[in-house]
């Protein structure tokens, strides 16, 4: 009897019982009330703009004009698919994204392997490793603009030590060099994060596996290939997807350093979207390009989800 009363009291049931509607509200409506703020936030600030963007891509909108918005159906998409510049932008985006994934993850993996071994001042070196990632992008751009200046850039001194180089190279004006620098700077900025995540994964690999492999006569390369890589495989998969998404939406470095030039060789889809919307005020076409970018990101995310599902099934 005492226990029953106590339980009722603890449950807040004054008078020993509560009316069913109140109990229903608490048990079933409270969770919805608690998630309501985040649903509203997501709905207003994420879902609504996406829906509005998709809607905008089917219309013709003249910014700052008295002309009414008109429904044009698939016109913007037809224009996009028949526009050679769009396909060039897609090629550049895929090239840039692939190169950044390869360079940033390779450097990230190598530095993680290095920092996984004990050496003097390792904590200090680890801290310094994170610096490129911690510095905001705009100062990074300003520093590199100075480093690469054809007139004052320090990198010219190094370049002119090479045989045959008598003039300061125009680092950001030659198409191949410009793309190379965009990849290098973006990778330099991103690799510490990947390195840190890989380092955590490396430290989670049981040492017994290495010992067993050594007992079986495995050399260093075999240990790396048959123990380390499988041990960090799922982490690498995740990082490939993250690197793809991060580099796909890279804007600041490219926009401020080359603006997409020279000759459009560094113009990725986000630069194109920005220019179309905010320099040309061709808002409708920009939203169509935005939808295309969204679809590509969605595909990357889906690939990752499928990989995760497959891995989970394999593990089970």
């Amino acid at each position: 009897m005492n226990e029953r009363v106590d339980a009722d009291a603890l449950a807040g049931r004054s008078g020993g019982r509560k009316s069913p509607p109140r109990l229903f509200r608490r048990r079933y409506l409270l969770p919805f009330a608690l998630v309501l703020p985040i649903v509203l936030y997501e709905g207003l600030l994420i879902v609504y703009p996406i829906v509005q963007g998709i809607y905008g891509s089917f219309t013709r909108i003249e910014l700052a004009s008295s002309a009414a918005t008109i429904w044009v159906g698939w016109d913007n998409y037809e224009r996009m698919f028949s526009d050679p510049a769009f396909w060039k932008v897609i090629r550049v985006t895929l090239l840039f994204t692939s190169l950044v994934i390869v360079v940033a993850l390779t450097v990230g993996l190598l530095t993680a392997l290095l920092f996984n071994r004990p050496f003097r001042f390792r904590p200090v070196a680890r801290g310094m490793l994170m610096m490129p990632w911690a510095i905001p992008e705009v100062p990074v751009v300003m520093i590199f603009i100075w480093i690469l200046s054809p007139q004052f850039g320090v990198v010219n001194i190094l370049a002119r030590m090479l045989p045959g180089v008598t003039q300061n190279p125009q680092w950001l004006q030659v198409p191949e060099l410009a793309m190379a620098w965009m990849v290098l700077i973006s990778s330099w900025k991103a690799f510490p994060f990947y390195s840190l995540v890989i380092l955590a994964a490396l430290q989670a690999i049981p040492q017994e596996l290495y010992e067993a492999a050594r007992v079986d006569g495995g050399n260093r390369l075999q240990l790396f290939w048959h123990v380390t890589i499988p041990g960090i495989g799922s982490t690498l998969e995740l990082l490939v997807v993250l690197a793809a998404i991060f580099s796909f939406k890279q804007f600041t470095i490219i926009f401020l350093m080359t603006g997409g030039g020279p000759s459009g060789t560094t113009e990725t889809i986000v630069i194109r979207i920005f220019n179309t919307a905010f320099r040309f005020y061709d808002y409708s076409y920009a939203t169509a390009l935005g939808v295309a970018g969204f679809v590509v990101s969605l595909v990357v995310a889906l690939v990752f989800i499928l990989m995760q599902v497959r891995r989970t099934q394999e593990t089970a």
Partner: protein, 445 residues
């Protein structure tokens, strides 16, 4: 039993349960919301029945409130107007130039034109006029008895009404450092060919001395196009007529070839705009095509250079250059239209207008009769490069593309950049640009 219940109830009473927490949080959020919506607290001195009537607040948007002597002059005029009368308070709001047009256009799309008084560029002004966003300003002229307004204002009229009043006309001219000319024993050129020779003679790349600088990077599209548009002038070309692009016409091809020659023989290749500006300030660049408004800025930015500045005569037969007007406009949807018009009227009083132009060190007067000869004679750099030149407006050289100025410019600079760095011929690049501009014309017409 009852003791146990009471104890537990007391215990619950002293701790915060979920419901209490939610209730308190909602109450606090409600209070916060109310506080945020409440009008801003007034200083104690302004409260009470004896407080003076509140001034009507007029927001004046421009990009120049932080620009050297122009910013200083305009801020002084705003203060002067606020002291001159007691009913209106003009508040100056600065927006950086490279964001100004985009902010205005996007802001307009998302609701209404921001600000009560807005400045505009030659390209933004017609867009705002076409969209019926402005108040006619004819009354300002009547109240100030102005009858000699410059003909550049014709582009600011619609249905017989005037919608903008020019506050600064900037004109392109060749500005040079006289010390560099004297060291090289050079006199200003009189033809485009001579100009290339003069620029080459002033260049020593090993010593990092250059004869000429103009922005030429695609990463600075606005500045690149802003300067490149002038290069149709040397051979009397125009970029477009109406909605017909003329990018393969002789005048354009010849003008761009001239730019390419200057790039090859005299320019710090690959230098961005701040670097070029700095090289000119240091005397490492001898000359450039500068708008007259920029010259005044050198008094503050480069006081050592300023006394050495001179202008060269326009070295092409037509003696034409581009003049860009920047009108002041009043927002039709403003709640303080009358008050805004008061400020515009004040600024356009001939005497105030003259003081403003002189304070900014500008040289082209939208009210010609307001110009003071002693002032103009005192500017050593004014003649001959910025004086007696035949001025044309962006409307005259880009036709209807003035409404899509950036996009048209982007087509030109992107293709022309291939000439500068990828070895493409001007003809080949402009043929591609012509097709792209025709596509643009079809889309916008």
């Amino acid at each position: 039993m009852s003791d146990s219940i009471e104890r537990k109830q007391e215990q619950r009473g002293s701790t915060l349960n979920r419901r209490d927490f939610l209730r308190s949080a909602s109450a606090l959020a409600g209070l916060g919301l109310l506080a945020a919506c409440a009008p801003a607290a007034q200083p104690a001195g302004e409260m009470g029945s004896d407080a003076p009537a509140e001034r009507a607040r007029v927001r004046y948007l421009s990009w120049w409130f932080e620009e050297g002597n122009r910013g200083e002059t305009w801020n002084n005029f705003v203060d002067e107007f606020n002291e001159y009368q007691t009913e209106i308070e003009v508040v100056a709001e600065n927006i950086p130039f490279d964001q100004y047009t985009t902010k205005t256009i996007v802001g307009t799309q998302s609701g209404q034109l921001d600000g009560d008084i807005v400045m505009a560029t030659p390209e933004l002004a017609p867009r705002l006029i076409q969209s019926d966003l402005l108040v006619p300003l004819d009354d300002v002229l009547v109240r100030n008895s102005i009858t000699d307004l410059s003909s550049a204002h014709d582009a600011l009229r619609k249905d017989g009404h005037l919608y903008g009043l020019d506050m600064v006309t900037v004109a392109f001219g060749i500005l040079y450092n006289k010390d560099r000319y004297e060291e090289a024993n050079i006199t200003p050129a009189t033809t485009p060919e001579e100009w290339v020779e003069v620029s080459a003679a002033l260049t020593d790349r090993e010593a990092q001395k250059y004869g000429f600088f103009a922005t030429h990077l695609v990463s600075e599209p606005s500045d690149f196009w802003f300067q490149l548009e002038v290069w149709c002038m040397p051979y009397d070309g125009i970029w477009a007529e109406g909605t017909t692009p003329l990018l393969t016409s002789d005048g354009i091809i010849q003008g761009l070839k001239l730019f390419k020659q200057m790039y090859d023989v005299a320019m710090p290749q690959g230098a961005d705009n701040p670097t070029g500006y700095r090289l000119f300030q240091n005397g490492d660049v001898a000359q450039g095509l500068y708008v007259s408004a920029a010259v005044g800025a050198f008094t503050k930015d480069a006081p050592d250079l300023y006394p050495k500045l001179r202008s060269a005569p326009i070295p092409w037969e037509t003696n034409k250059s581009i003049a860009r007007i920047h009108p002041m406009m009043v927002n039709k949807d403003s709640e303080v239209v009358e008050e805004s018009l008061e400020f515009v009227t004040y600024m356009y009083k001939p005497d105030n207008y003259r003081r403003m132009v002189e304070g900014c060190q500008d040289v082209i007067f939208a009210q010609p009769s307001a110009a003071r000869q002693e002032y103009l004679d005192g500017l050593e750099w004014l003649k001959p490069g910025y004086f007696g030149v035949d001025y044309v407006t962006p409307f005259d050289i880009v036709g209807d593309f003035v409404y899509n100025f950036n996009e048209f410019g982007q087509i030109v600079i992107t293709n022309f950049a291939d000439v500068l760095i990828a070895g493409k011929s001007v003809e080949e690049a402009m043929e591609i640009a012509q097709v792209q501009a025709e596509d643009l014309a079809e889309r916008i017409s």
